[in-house]
Every structure is written in C-alpha cells, then in structure tokens.
C-alpha cells in the first residue's frame, strides 16, 4: 500500500482561506471595517498514496473550502500545499495546468454534475480533449476503460446514453470514470454518496476503496461519521476552520478525546434500538465564522470548558489517553 518509502503525496501546512463579507454600498461609504469569513484558519495534514483521509465536520466547518483550496479552485490566502514535492499554493495558473491532471474532484450531486446534453461518452472523454491527450480513437478506448474501472461494464452499454437515462448511482460512476480517465494520483470526493440511496452507497464506497487499494490517495469530505469510520484510514474532525482532532479512524471513533468529537459521536443515531447512548446535545449552533471566539474556538459550547479555555488557543497534541501515536486533539484538558 503506502510502503514504498516515499514521502506523502500531499502535504498541507497552515492553510488559510478567507472570504470577504460584502459590506454593501452603505457599509463602504460609512467606512465600516472589512469583515472576513474565516473559512479555513490554519489546517495541516498529510496524505499518502493508497490512503484515505476523511475530513469530517458540520456545515460551515471549512471542510469543503479546504478541499477546494487544495485543488486551487479557490485561492488560498496563506500556508503551503505541497503536491508530490512541489508547492502549488502560489503557482501561476499556467504552470498549475499539467498538475491539475493528477488531482481530480468528485462532486456531491450526481444529478447535476453531468451535462444533460452530453452523452456519457462525451462527458468521459472531455478531460482527455481538454488536455489534448491522444487521437480520438485512443480517447474512445480510454473512456471505455475508465467506465469499466468505475463498474459500468460492459462499457458499450453506457457510452451512448444520456444522463437522464441513468440512475443516481450510475451517474456518480460516470462522474468517477470522468475523473479516472486522466489517471490521477489524488482524488478528492466531496460527499460522494450523500445524495444516493442507501442500497447503492456501499457500491460507490467500495469502488473508492478499490481505487485506494490501487494506489490512489483519496481525500473524502463527509459529514457522516459512520461512513468515515468504516472506509477511511484516518479521520480529521474540523470545527470552525481548524482540525480539532485527527488520528486513525478506529481510534477516533472508539476513543475520541476532543469534547466536540465526543459530542458528535454521541448524537449519531444508531440503527440498533438497543444501543442506548447518552446523547451530548450541544446547545445552539456553530457560531458564525466571521466572529471566531477567542482562545479555543469551541469553548462557548464546550461542556468541559474552564476559565483558561477563553484565553488559550490549543494546538494539536497527543492526548494522554490516546492509544495511537498519530492521534492528536486540540484541547488543553486531554
């Protein structure tokens, strides 16, 4: 798997991305100071080939922005992004283009991510056409290969179809095929199954698992902790733009240390009615990322907060009760 001794494929260090909040005409005229949505405020992680990292958190935590920043679909404001050794955080677009082939994004909505006017063949061949790969016959063969790799076999059955003829699961596979056709090294999957029926999800997740086993690095964005626990190698839990806990997937789920992670895990509904868990329902909602609380960003809602939590912004450290070496949590009390 990742035992080839190479360094990680993707290294993100201190990533910062902010969006300006519109002040409107009145605000500008009045000279109101500009406010920022601190979507990502210092995120660091590593991803090796053949590894799946799940970025988990609620809406507004910055997981999607992190993924988009890594792919340079959104311009980061700070930090380093090293892809296979090259820092791509500030690379000019022209030099970035050849590297884009090696990182692909799979979107959440299979019903919207395919152009309804394109046949499957055209959608899957498009990346090859954009990057000027091979003659047309070659592209056709590559597209068929990619479709079969994505589980749509025999490919001939699908090449000439329109998206509206396909089910949600099939459309998502077409989207996956379209991202595989350039032979990428990194796949970013943004909630790849959340819009699919339950009976179809396992198939897609198994496909991603299979791709991982073939050596792809996969960054999966999800809000579903159960899926992350089952398929990811490592989990990073995000809150208000920071990673608050990270480590091996099973270690996080069985032995969570950060109070936010523990609260999240406690409210995930269990299918077995006999599995009674005392839910730690946090009051209120995630605060506005425009005004990040002082000190530890979680302290206003934290059931374990003490006076120091208002002043100290904790770094990720290994908790005392953690089993694994790589398990980290950003909390001064663990």
């Amino acid at each position: 798997m990742s035992a080839n001794g190479e360094g990680p494929l993707l290294e993100v260090e201190g990533l910062v991305t902010r969006y300006p909040v519109s002040r409107g005409i009145v605000g500008t005229l009045r000279g109101r100071p500009r406010e920022w949505v601190h979507a990502v405020e210092g995120v660091s992680f590593r991803l090796r080939r053949g590894e799946m990292l799940a970025l988990v958190g609620e809406s507004g935590c910055g997981k999607t922005t992190t993924a988009q920043s890594v792919l340079r679909l959104v311009e980061p404001d700070g930090g380093e992004i090293r892809f296979d050794g090259t820092d791509i955080a500030r690379l000019p677009q022209r030099e970035l283009r050849p590297l884009r082939r090696r990182m692909q994004l799979i979107y959440q909505d299979p019903y919207e991510s395919l152009d309804p006017r394109f046949r499957v063949r055209t959608t899957v061949e498009e990346p090859l056409a954009v990057h000027g790969v091979g003659p047309r016959t070659e592209r056709r063969a590559e597209a068929a290969r990619a479709l079969e790799l994505a589980g749509l076999a025999p490919a001939e059955l699908y090449l000439d179809r329109y998206p509206h003829e396909l089910s949600g699961g099939q459309r998502q596979r077409v989207a996956i095929a379209a991202s595989l056709v350039l032979h990428p090294d990194l796949l970013v999957a943004d909630e790849p199954v959340s819009m699919l029926d339950v009976s179809v999800r396992a198939g897609i997740l198994a496909l991603l698992d299979d791709l991982r086993a073939r050596g792809l690095a996969i960054l999966m964005i999800t809000h579903d902790l159960s899926t992350a626990a089952r398929y990811a190698d490592r989990i990073a839990v995000m809150y208000l733009g920071r990673i608050v806990e990270e480590g091996p997937a099973r270690g996080i789920v069985d032995n969570a240390q950060h109070p936010y992670t523990r609260a999240l895990l406690s409210v995930v509904p269990r299918p077995d009615p006999r599995e009674r868990v005392a839910p730690r329902i946090l009051r209120g909602e995630t605060p506005n990322p425009v005004r990040i609380p002082s000190g530890c960003r979680f302290h206003p809602r934290c059931p374990m907060a003490i006076a120091d939590c208002r002043d100290v912004d904790p770094a990720l450290t290994r908790p005392a009760a953690a089993a694994a070496e790589s398990h980290r949590a950003a909390c001064i009390r663990v």
């Binding site: 919207e112 498009e126 589980g151 076999a153 003829e165 089910s167 099939q170 496909l207």
Partner: protein
C-alpha cells in the same frame, strides 16, 4: 486489471433504462404539444412560403398599372387597386417579402448583439457585467421612434440601415434574459466541473453554456421578429422606409398620403394592416409558448384549480 460490474447493474435489463432514448428537442416538443405554439408556427410558415413564392404566384406585375386609381375589389382584382392603379394583392405579396426579410434579419441582429452581450455579462460577471449592463441600461431608455427618425435622417433610408437600426435599438431585452439564464447555468455543477478540469472559457461557453441558453434564445428571437416587423411598419409608415421597396408599412403610408380613407378605399389600408397583425400575432403566440415552457420563472402549474380524482374501489388492481 479485472473489473467487477457495479452491483446496481447486476440485474438490470439492457433496455430497462429510465427515460426516453432520444434527447428531447425542446422547441419541437413545445410546438407539438401546445396548440398555441402550433398555430403560431403554422401561420408563420404559411406566410413565409407565400412570401418566398410571391414572384411566381402574384397575378400581376409589381409596377404594372392595370386599372384606375383605387378601383374597388372585383373578380379580377381580389383586393382592388391602389393609388397608382396597381393590383393590391400583388403588392401585398411582394410587401410580405420585404416585411419578413426586415423582420427576420433585424431579429437576427438583436439575437447576435443581445446574445453576445448577455453571454459575456452573465458568464464573466464582475466588472464586465457592470459595464455591459450599464450599456444595456442606456440603450433601454432611448425612445425608439425618435432614435429611428434621427438615424434614418442621418444615415439614409436603405434596407440595410433599417435592419441595423431596429437591431441596435431592440437588443436589450434579449441581453437581459440571456444574462439571467447564463448566470444560473454558470453555477451548475457540470460547468464548474468543466472549469476545474482546466477547460478554457471558450470551450465552456460554447459546449456547456450556449446549448443550455439556446432554446430560450430562440424563443426570445421569435418574439423579436414580431417587434421588428412592427418597428419596420412604423418606420415605413412615417415615411422613413426605403423608397424603392414595397413593404406593408409602405402600403399603409401610400394609402394615407393619397387619402385613401376619404374615398372609402378600405382595401388599400386594411389588408396590409391586417397582415402585420396576423404575423405579429403568430410570432407572439409561438414565442410566448416557447418562453413559458423554457423560462423556469414562469412556471405556474402549481396554481392549477383542478384537483386529484377519485377512483372506484375496484379500479386498477394491477397486481
């Protein structure tokens, strides 16, 4: 590398796919299913055919004097004669050609100008959008008739000039509608995906955005034809049209300036007026029907007053 077919495919019949095999051609399906659109399209087609065949089916010559001034309709001259003794029916047929040519050509100009501006403003947003929309606003507030008067006076009254003037005045609606549609299409996931692949703007615009906007553009252009024909009629009626060409507007202008009304020569005034009304109506019916089914903001199906029906207890036990 061995591949396993996806589980959800394992028990599917090859022809068991959802939805029709062919991609729906929107414009054609609207014409097929909505009577209003069909009637409009049919009438328009009939007028176009008549206009094209005019030189061959016209009973007399366009400048051939065949009788007295303002002779009433008779079995030889179904629509009587005009102020120069020329057969009205012949003039009507030839007039159709000019009116329609101006109408379609000017509509094409509005489609090109308005479409281009709407496309660029909607796609690029930001400063481009602001600048282009300001431009649109300026053109929007200019009163049409006075501008046509000035333009005709300054640049002359040729057919080309008329077409250009109409096109340049009336592109603003097209631009706005196209811009709104482009803005919404641009946010769709498949467009973002194409951009994130590294596709250039041209490719995205031509292959992804334009096809989505095209049907609505067709609808708006059909409506523009109606506007253009009406505008041409107005221009000709004001005496600003091309003096060498006969159009319906010119016929009405002739009739008025030669006092057809005072001699009760209705056949010199009513037929061209009616013809304009019929063509404008046909275009409007077709254009509106297309626009209603294409413009998502105009959906009102949920306001229907009809309700669900009841079936007898024994109905359809298809088990």
């Amino acid at each position: 590398m061995t591949t396993v077919p996806a589980p959800e495919l394992l028990t599917r019949e090859p022809d068991d796919f959802e939805g029709p095999r062919r991609r729906r051609h929107v414009v054609w399906s609207v014409i097929r299913t909505q009577p209003q659109a069909a009637i409009g399209a049919l009438v328009l087609l009939a007028v176009v055919v008549v206009a094209v065949l005019a030189p061959w089916i016209a009973p007399y010559g366009e400048r051939e004097k065949v009788g007295d001034v303002f002779e009433p309709p008779s079995s030889e001259h179904w629509l009587g004669l005009d102020d120069a003794g020329i057969d009205m029916l012949t003039l009507m047929l030839h007039g159709a050609r000019v009116s329609l040519v101006v109408g379609f050509a000017a509509a094409l100009v509005t489609m090109l100008i308005g479409g281009m501006i709407g496309l660029l403003a909607g796609y690029f947003g930001g400063k481009t959008d602001v600048v282009l929309m300001r431009l649109t606003d300026y053109f929007l507030v200019i009163p049409d008739i006075p501008l046509m008067l000035v333009a005709a006076a300054v640049w002359g009254r040729s057919l080309t000039n008329i077409i250009l003037i109409i096109g340049v005045i009336y592109w603003t609606t097209t631009a706005r509608v196209v811009r709104a549609q482009v803005k919404s299409v641009r946010e769709r996931v498949y467009v973002k995906r194409a951009r994130s692949l590294g596709a250039g703007h041209t490719r995205v615009l031509v292959r992804h955005v334009l096809p989505q906007v095209a049907p609505l553009l067709v609808a708006i252009t059909v409506l523009s034809v109606a506007v253009a024909i009406f505008a041409e009629t107005a221009i000709a009626f004001l005496g600003l049209g091309d003096p060498t060409l006969t159009s319906w507007g010119k016929l009405i202008e002739n009739a008025f300036s030669r006092s057809a009304i005072s001699v009760d020569a209705w056949w010199a005034v009513v037929p061209p007026g009616l013809a304009v009304v019929v063509v404008v109506l046909a275009c409007t019916m077709l254009g509106r029907a297309l626009e209603d089914s294409l413009n998502p903001r105009l959906r009102v199906g949920h306001l229907s007053v009809r309700h669900f029906r009841l079936r007898g207890a024994g109905g359809g036990e298809a088990r």
